[in-house]
Amino acid sequence: MIRSDILKTIIPVISDKLVVSNIGLPSQELHMLDDQPTNFYMLGTMGLASSIGLGLALSQKETIIAIDGDGSVLTNLGTLPTIANNVANNFILLIIDNGSYGSTGDQPTYASGKTSLAKVAEACGCDNVFECKASETREILEKAIESKKMTIIVSKCQSGNIPVPVIDIDPAVIRYRFMEEIKARN
C-alpha cells in the first residue's frame, strides 16, 4: 500500500473529524479524495503539521488528527518532546512513514534506514506509540479515537504517489472554513 491507499481506507473514519494535513501530496491527495471544511491543508511550511495539531488540541475540546510524514517529522524532530510533555488527550499524530520525501521525488529519508520514528517518539517520552502496517492503520486509528488518549501512530507503507491536482483554495478560505467548523463544534 502507498500513502493514498491508506488515506482511502481511513477517510470513512476521519471525514467528519478535524484534520491537519501535511504539505504537498498528502494534502493534495486528501483534498482530491475527500475535501471537507474540517480539513486544514498545509500549502507550505514543511514540518509543522504536528505543531499546528498540538496547538489546536491544547486550545479546544474536539479530537484533532494530524496526518504527517516521516520526512516532515524528521524536519521538526523537536516537536516530539513538546508533544510528550504537553499531553493533549484529544490529539492523534498519524505519521505515514513511506521512508521517503514523496512530494519531492521519493528521495529516501533516514526513517527508511536505521532510524525508527516510533522509538524516537518513545525516547522523547511519548506514551501510546504504535507502529503498524499500512493495512492496520484504520483499525488502530479508530481505537486511538475511542481511547481519548494522546496517541502517535507510525504507519509503515510503500513509497509512491498518484497524480493529483494542486489545491486551488485561498489559504485564508481554508483557515476560515476550518475555524468556523471548530467554533460550531466547541
Binding site: 511550511t45 491544547l58 486550545s59 479546544q60 521538526n76 523537536g78 485564508a172 483557515r175 467554533k183
Partner: protein, 166 residues
Amino acid sequence: MSIAQNMLNAMVKNKIEFVTTLPCKQLSCIIELLEKDERILHVPSNKEDEGMGLCAGAYMGGKRPCIIMQNTAIGVTINTLVTLIQYYRIPLPILISYRGELGEKVQCQVEMAVHTKGLLEQLKIPTYHFHEPKHLEEFDGILNHTFIAKKPVAILTDANFWSSTS
C-alpha cells in the same frame, strides 16, 4: 509592578491565552512569571518555527497566541512567517529580546542585531522597538492592533529597556 508583570497583564487584557517561549537571559523574568501565571497556558517550544506552528494551531482553536523569542532566531522563522502566519492571515505578536544592542556583553550577538530590523522590514512585519521604559505604555495598543491587523507584529525589546526592571 515590574515590566514583565505589566506585559503579562497586557496580554491577559488582550485575551491572549496561549504563549510559547524560547529561552533568553534577557527574557528569563517574563518566562518565569508566565510559568506561574494560571491565566495563560505556557507551552515552551524547542525551535522558533515549531513555536509559530503551535501558535497557528492555538489561534485556529480559539485561543489568542503570542511567541516570546530572541532576535537571533529570526532567520529560522522566515519560511514559517511567510508561508503560514502571513499566508493564512494569522495574527501573532512576537515579543523579541533584541540582543546585540547597546549594553550587550556578548560580541557575537551584535552580528544578528545588525540584520534584525532589515529582515523584519524585508518581510513587511510591523515592528516596534522598546528602548526606554516608557515604551511599555504602547504594548497594550500593539497587541490590540495585532489582532485587528491579523498579521505577525514584532516587538523588539533591548537591554536598556529591560535594565530598568529587574
